[in-house]
Symmetry: C2
Subunit: 203 residues, 2 copies
DNA sequence: TCAGTATGTGTACATTGTTCACTTTTTTCT
DNA sequence: AGAAAAAAGTGAACAATGTACACATACTGA
């Protein structure tokens, strides 16, 4: 870390700071991320961060936004892949959601730190809505329409279930004795159990 | 705050510190809770806390444990009340779970801060298991048996769903335009949608 | 009563977020 | 091209925080 750079200016500090948060969060947890630590990691003075983010919270907001979009990308990919293989999209998306959380616990936590980010930031809100849309996209007849705030009971149920699973595995120490693989098997079983409730036609 | 006490010794500082955390967390959020702030709130020196908790994390662990047990108490009460009124226990417990989170967001968050508490603490683990048992108790044929680590797919599904709902409402800014009451209505609708998946006999 | 233990105090220190005046580079305008 | 202005990074500060440690005070049991 802290390779010395040739020029006085860094060139892309805003983005690099997000990378630094990523690196440190993955390694030591999101709570261990400090502004000074990120700066040192990049070989840059502590105060330089303030040229790009008004404060720590703003940096964390940008990071949360990036993480949300990354998760959305992952879900989108899982959906596409399931479609092309003729697999169930709901199952694929649900599994991918929990799998992402298990693979990147610190990033998953970073997305939802109400008290540590500006949750009214437009970019953050947009990313959160995109994620919601990604969950909904697995449902037949789902329309990515004008009022994305409206979410059906079934859509919310699926989201809640996988979001709850992810949180219980990542933050609650549920099934601490199970391996990652066994946990995913359990997730699959739970989604299978849930499935009937997602198919009833009377909406 | 900081009423001066007559005696040099406080008498019940360990417990009072938890109360202070509670007060400050409810008012300013769990992230705003500081050791020094709690001490000042009690009119006590900052270092006194260390006689009762090895560090901030230990204090937070004790607080999370207390909050978990408080939530369990609430669920237990909801269950009993539903039984005596002939209402559905699963619905009552699920609603009470989310309701508690909405009423005490900072406490609910405090229970699940993996990076800020000692999640292997025996008391904490016990409280978490008790909560799991409380969720399971609504199911017919649930036995509070020897191996509480084993949780059925249906039990985990219910827990995940309400836990996910609680988190999405508390930390995600889901349905930000809805009132507390409307949110609870939505929760009721989601649990109703979920219900069929919890009743199938083939386990 | 008195020694020992438990509990609270005060001072001190390293780390953190943040501010501000300053320097260095890049861009823009004529 | 050269000057003026804007953008980006620096270093020294400051207050607040968690924590350690030597000390003071109160309680308890022989």
């Amino acid at each position: 870390m802290a390779k010395k750079r040739a020029s006085y200016h860094h060139g892309n500090l805003a983005e690099s700071l997000l990378d630094a948060v990523n690196t440190i969060a993955e390694q030591f947890g999101i709570e261990a991320v400090t502004l000074r630590g990120c700066a040192k990691h990049l070989g840059v003075s502590p105060s330089s961060a303030f040229r790009h983010y008004s404060d720590k919270r703003a940096l964390f907001t940008a990071f949360a936004t990036r993480a949300l979009n990354q998760l959305s990308d992952t879900l989108q990919q899982a959906h596409t892949e399931a479609d092309s293989r003729g697999n169930d999209a709901l199952m694929a998306v649900g599994l991918a959601y929990v799998q992402y959380a298990l693979a990147h616990p610190a990033l998953f936590r970073a997305m939802w730190r109400e008290e540590a980010i500006y949750t009214q930031d437009p970019d953050y809100l947009e990313a959160a809505l995109r994620l919601q849309g990604q969950i909904s996209s697995g449902f037949a007849g789902s329309i990515d329409d004008g009022d994305p705030e409206a979410i059906s009971d079934q859509e919310l149920l699926l989201w809640s279930a996988v979001h709850g699973l992810a949180n219980l595995y990542v933050d609650g120490n549920l099934n601490g004795h199970l391996s990652q693989f066994e946990r995913l098997k359990k997730v699959e079983a739970v989604i299978t159990t849930l499935k009937p409730a997602l198919l009833s036609s009377d909406q």
